[in-house]
């Protein structure tokens, strides 16, 4: 059966027509389709999406997809990655045509991400520890805590609730302040930053903590170490923990639309 579709992994900066081996999804042979100094990294397939109800198989496919992207990155430098299951109807000529039509945009994007990788920065906090620190550092709050000795129960309860509320509000302010401070720092040490404002999923390792901030960063190779050191400092602060992962291809910082 003729394979009249092409599965797209990425667009890379290269003039070469090369075979990368049977490293693709379902052991498909992966190769490049160049146009001038850019090339699509593809494998031939039927022009239908990869679909399955088997969770494990789907996960394997995604791993294979990312493996090819990583391999292309090692070989050609930072690539413009496609999400899983980007399939084009047509043959290599159609791919060439698409590259030609979008050459300016693709070349500019490749230049923008050259020598950069995407990293994920997540900062977690320990509710109790930060509240204790607030309590220690604020004499007003400390006094509130001591006041309940020898008091009538109703009044004592109200005062303890007062303290809890003030700690809760104080913590919210402190978290906002830290969020801004860390955001600024991460911005200064990265080329581009996106704040993931709606991500609240906490990995198992940090289950006893809550999310303070989450960023996707595009970082030049030369700057990664500085960013790592700065994040280390935050990680060493009492009550805070940093999860710094990567490098990934710049999924969050490029959008290769398909016609």
């Amino acid at each position: 059966m003729e394979e009249t579709g092409r599965y797209l992994y990425s667009v890379a900066r290269t003039r070469d027509e090369v075979r990368l081996g049977v490293i693709g999804i379902e052991e498909s042979p992966v190769y490049t389709v160049p146009f001038q100094d850019i090339a699509a990294v593809v494998h031939s397939c039927q022009p239908v999406p990869y679909g399955t109800k088997d969770q494990k198989l789907a996960e394997d496919w995604i791993l294979e997809h990312n493996y090819v992207i990583d391999h292309a990155t090692k070989r050609f430098g930072t690539v413009l990655p496609f999400s899983f299951d980007a399939i084009v109807r047509g043959d290599d000529e159609v791919i060439k045509g698409w590259l030609a039509e979008n050459y300016e945009m693709l070349s500019t994007e490749l230049h923008r991400v050259k020598d950069k990788d995407e990293y994920s920065v997540q900062i977690f906090y320990d509710d109790q520890k930060l509240k204790s620190r607030l309590l220690e550092s604020d004499p007003g709050l400390k006094a509130l805590k001591e006041k309940t000795e020898g008091m009538s129960p109703g009044k004592a309860y109200l005062l303890s609730r007062n303290l809890d509320i003030k700690l809760k509000d104080g913590l919210a302010l402190e978290l906002a302040r830290l969020g801004v401070q860390f955001g600024k720092m991460v911005k200064e040490l990265s080329d581009e930053v996106k704040a993931d404002e709606r991500k609240t999923w906490v990995p198992d390792k940090y289950k006893d903590k809550k999310m303070l901030a989450s960023f996707s960063c595009l970082v030049h190779h030369d700057k990664v170490e500085s960013l790592g050191l700065a994040l280390d400092e935050i990680n060493n602060m009492d009550g805070l923990a940093v999860r710094f992962t990567g490098p990934w291809a710049p999924f969050s910082f490029t959008e290769i639309g398909r016609s």
Binding site: P153, G154, K155, Y157, L158, L159, R161, N162, I165, E197
Partner: protein, 114 residues
């Protein structure tokens, strides 16, 4: 987004939701009580009565949660409602972002052209 209620037992789930909402109201009452106390407008007796009433409410809610084993699901509901509140406030602040996202099942008060 899904509010995680214990779906295995709908009665438990509804109870969890109700308790979560009462706890939210409880916090509002506590804040109001503290404000009044700090304003100096309450007598010692009034402070004591207010404090006792709130303490009783809190005890009753804790007992309901323990007796029905819904402490965790109540916490989850409150965290979910927190997230929804955040999203709604964010919609007011960043309407363009929500216009881009549109139609992925997230909470939207401004259905606009839909």
């Amino acid at each position: 987004m899904a509010i995680k209620i214990d779906e295995d037992n709908l009665k438990e789930g509804l109870l969890g939701l109700v308790v979560a909402l009462v706890e939210i109201v409880e916090e509002v009452l506590e804040r109001q009580a503290v404000r009044r106390m700090e304003s100096g407008r309450l007598s010692d007796e009034e402070i004591e009565r207010l404090g006792s009433a709130l303490s009783d409410l809190n005890e009753a809610l804790e007992k309901i949660k323990q007796d029905n084993n819904i402490t965790d699901s109540v916490r989850t509901v409150k965290e979910g409602l927190d997230q929804i509140a955040d999203d709604v406030v964010d919609q007011f602040l960043n309407p363009e972002r929500w216009a881009q996202d549109g139609g992925d099942g997230k909470v939207s008060l401004f259905r606009g052209k839909d």
